[in-house]
């Protein structure tokens, strides 16, 4: 249906374009044109395209809604209130209407499928006819408007500009979409579990709340263990990525010869380009057993999914992140400050430690904040190498779990419809999103101020 409609749109648009252009070329013989014939063609094409696309975008959801509602009514008028059954029945209706239903359909189902099929045929017919009418109206409108002195280019350019603006707004829509996705489900979650229990509870075990009588009141939705787990892994990661990334950046910016940089930069870029699922595989299958074995050799009891393994690999993952951001801010420190320090008789390291790093301090702090936000939001490494149980511990040799692991665990696979458990994942997403967003906003603000300082 969509394919048919849009091939029709395409044909009409091309025809309209050619028609408008040739008419303008014809008119040009008698009178000079304001706009080139191509713009006349484009104006006709747009007069067809815009109404037809709008019709489709508005008409199809309405038609679908009407079709589904009527079909369900034909099946059982009471069904509309029952969300769960509604979905299942609708699937059966659609399957039957498409003749892909396995088994013997009931009489009611058959009736509903017939309604569905006939309404669907009607709506397709209506939309296509409507499209043709709109196209004709568009042509009529554009032909009446077009004349030699008509400023077709300005009109077309206005449409282009609005299209560009719409594209730029996609980013805003995405943010709104994210906020809407997490906020509504989180509000529904807080209907079941009190925010106090959620934020300050010391136990996290959403699985136990599957039974209806348990609801959310059992207090198994406390995120403190997740916060400490996330924190523990992030701290380990930053202890590794912070110094290594910063020193690597200092070396690359201040000491390295161009030849060395030509070798080392790609290494960092390769590391930055390795997908986290690959690093997770390395953490889970190589590093974790190694840590466990060496721990045992020292007589330590190491969990097979220790926070240490996940933290180390995550630290390695964010090294290129820290180093490239720090490299940027170190390079932004004006050479004149270094010269001033050298001229005082300072050595290179004294200059770096006492002049360059203090001058770049704000930028480095924001680089670290962005890195932390990256570590907190990282999923695959912890999913593969960290544990599932919400242990409240700061021992890096034990298994801990994180926000992202829990979101993934709850939402992947079969979900119970509308249960507190499923909703809790969105609440976790909410916390994660706003935490990282706050860090990012602050960090980007610092970077901005820092840039202005040295521009």
């Amino acid at each position: 249906m969509g394919l048919l409609y849009f091939s029709g749109v395409a044909v009409l648009v091309v025809v309209g374009f050619l028609f408008g252009r040739s008419r303008a070329a014809l008119a040009e013989r008698t009178e000079p044109l304001h706009s080139r014939p191509n713009y006349h063609g484009a104006f006709v094409a747009l007069s067809i395209l815009i109404p037809m696309v709008l019709l489709f975008a508005i008409g199809v959801p309405i038609a679908n809604h009407v079709t589904e509602t009527e079909a369900l009514n034909a099946y059982d008028p009471q069904i509309a209130g029952d969300q769960l059954r509604r979905g299942a029945v609708l699937r059966d209706i659609v399957a039957l209407a498409n003749e892909r239903y396995a088994g013997q359909p009931s009489e009611a189902l058959r009736r509903a499928a017939d309604t569905y099929a006939s309404l669907r045929a009607w709506s397709i017919y209506l939309i296509i006819c409507g499209g043709i009418v709109f196209a004709l109206l568009g042509i009529a409108f554009s032909l009446r408007t077009l004349s030699a002195r008509f400023r077709a280019r300005n009109r077309v350019e206005a449409v282009v500009k609005w299209t560009l603006f719409a594209a730029a707004c996609v980013a805003v829509l995405t943010t709104i979409g994210i906020v809407a996705s997490v906020v509504f489900e989180t509000i529904r979650f807080f209907d079941r579990v009190s925010p106090i229990d959620f934020l300050f509870g010391l136990h996290w075990s959403p699985q136990t709340a599957i039974r209806a009588d348990q609801g959310g009141s059992s207090g198994s939705f406390g995120i403190v263990p997740l916060v400490t787990g996330t924190l523990l892994i992030t701290v380990i990661a930053m202890l590794i990525a912070g110094p290594i990334g910063l020193f690597a950046a200092i070396y690359m910016a201040e000491y390295a010869t161009p030849r060395f940089r030509n070798f080392a930069k790609p290494v960092l870029e390769i590391l930055a380009g390795i997908p986290t699922v690959v690093l997770g595989f390395f953490a889970a299958l190589t590093l974790a057993p190694l840590i466990r074995a060496s721990g045992e050799a020292l007589g330590l009891n190491v969990a097979s999914e220790s926070a240490l393994a996940a933290g180390i690999v995550m630290g390695m993952m964010i090294i290129p992140f820290v180093s490239s951001l720090s490299d940027d801010v170190i390079n932004a420190v004006p050479q004149s400050l270094r010269d001033g320090s050298y001229a005082m008789g300072a050595t290179k390291s004294e200059t770096i430690k006492k002049v360059v790093l203090p001058a770049a301090f704000g930028g480095i702090v924001s680089a670290f904040m962005l890195a932390i936000s990256r570590a907190v939001g990282e999923t695959m490494i912890v999913v593969m190498a960290a544990g599932l149980a919400g242990n409240l511990t700061f021992n890096p040799l034990e298994a801990v779990t994180t926000f992202t692991v829990q979101i993934k665990t709850i939402l992947v696979g079969d979900q119970e419809f509308d249960s507190a458990k499923t909703l809790s994942a969105f609440a976790l997403g909410f916390v994660l999103f706003f935490f990282t967003l706050t860090l990012n906003v602050i960090a980007l603000q610092i970077v901005k101020r820092y840039r202005e300082q040295y521009d």
Binding site: P334, L337, A343, G345, A346, A359
Partner: protein, 272 residues
């Protein structure tokens, strides 16, 4: 214009006027290369102690390059290469036993654009004494900071806000702060690379006044674009052109009766 002057013709002329305090810096056959490009050609120059020596010439003539040779700042540019001999008080600054770090502590430098560190005024001045271990106690350091700021003529203006950031000062104050920073390690030579080019006339006048005072205790070499400034502050002047030291001598002589036609053309504004 087309008479090529050999450097060796100029040098004896410079030595005809013996300086009051003897010669502080001696440069012989100094050449600088930036990669393939040669920036200085066999420059030989004597700089007398406790006086101001001005280096003048059109842009790109090598005067700043020569200045940066005197405290080996060219070492910080990877492609730069320096040959020839430079002595300060008879010691070769390129010799293995003289460390570049020590050299720079002895030969301070003030740059074209004021470049105070983004730290407090106090920390800016204390930086040098700290890294060289020149103050044994906090009170001693306080003393050094105060006398440096006094010598730079900045003390009265900043004594109540030593903890404020050095970057918050006005341009002229910043430049005087940089001078205070340089003299805090008690150098013997101070190099100034167009120190007033970023400043307004009033601030410039203050710096020039300061130079005149500092001349009593330090040897100052200043690169300047402004011939008036050279005439005002310096006792001796050297004129560079296209990497060659064309002429040097007492400032008065250079400005009134230059022996080279190119110098004359330059100071009368025919080119530059």
């Amino acid at each position: 214009m087309n008479t090529m002057v050999k450097v060796s013709d100029i040098v004896p002329a410079a030595e005809a006027h013996a300086p009051e305090h003897g010669t502080k810096v001696v440069a012989r056959d100094v050449n600088v290369y930036y990669g393939e490009k040669r920036a200085l050609f066999d420059v030989s120059l004597d700089i007398p102690a406790r006086s101001v020596m001005a280096l003048i010439g059109p842009s790109g003539c090598g005067k700043s390059t020569f200045l940066r040779c005197l405290n080996r700042m060219n070492d910080t540019i990877p492609i730069a290469r320096v040959t020839g001999r430079i002595e300060i008080d008879g010691r070769d600054i390129h010799s293995a036993d003289l460390d570049v770090v020590q050299l720079r502590a002895n030969v301070g430098m003030v740059f074209q654009k004021p470049n105070p560190f983004p730290k407090s005024i106090y920390e800016n001045v204390a930086y040098g004494p700290r890294i060289h271990g020149l103050a044994r106690s906090k009170s001693e350091l306080d003393g050094v900071v105060e006398s440096s700021l006094r010598r730079a003529g900045l003390w009265e203006e900043v004594k109540d806000r030593l903890g404020d950031s050095g970057t918050g000062l006005s341009g002229g104050q910043q430049q005087r702060l940089c001078i205070a920073r340089a003299i805090a390690v008690s150098p013997e030579v101070i190099l100034m690379d167009e120190p007033c080019s970023a400043l307004d006339p009033i601030a410039t006048a203050k710096i020039e006044e300061l130079m005149d005072e500092l001349r009593e205790n330090y040897t100052i070499v200043i690169v300047t674009h402004s011939m008036q400034q050279a005439a005002r502050v310096s006792q001796r002047t050297a004129f560079f052109h296209l990497g060659i030291l064309v002429e040097t001598g007492p400032t008065e002589k250079i400005f009134t009766n230059p022996s080279d036609k190119k110098t004359q053309d330059y100071i009368t504004g025919r080119f530059g």
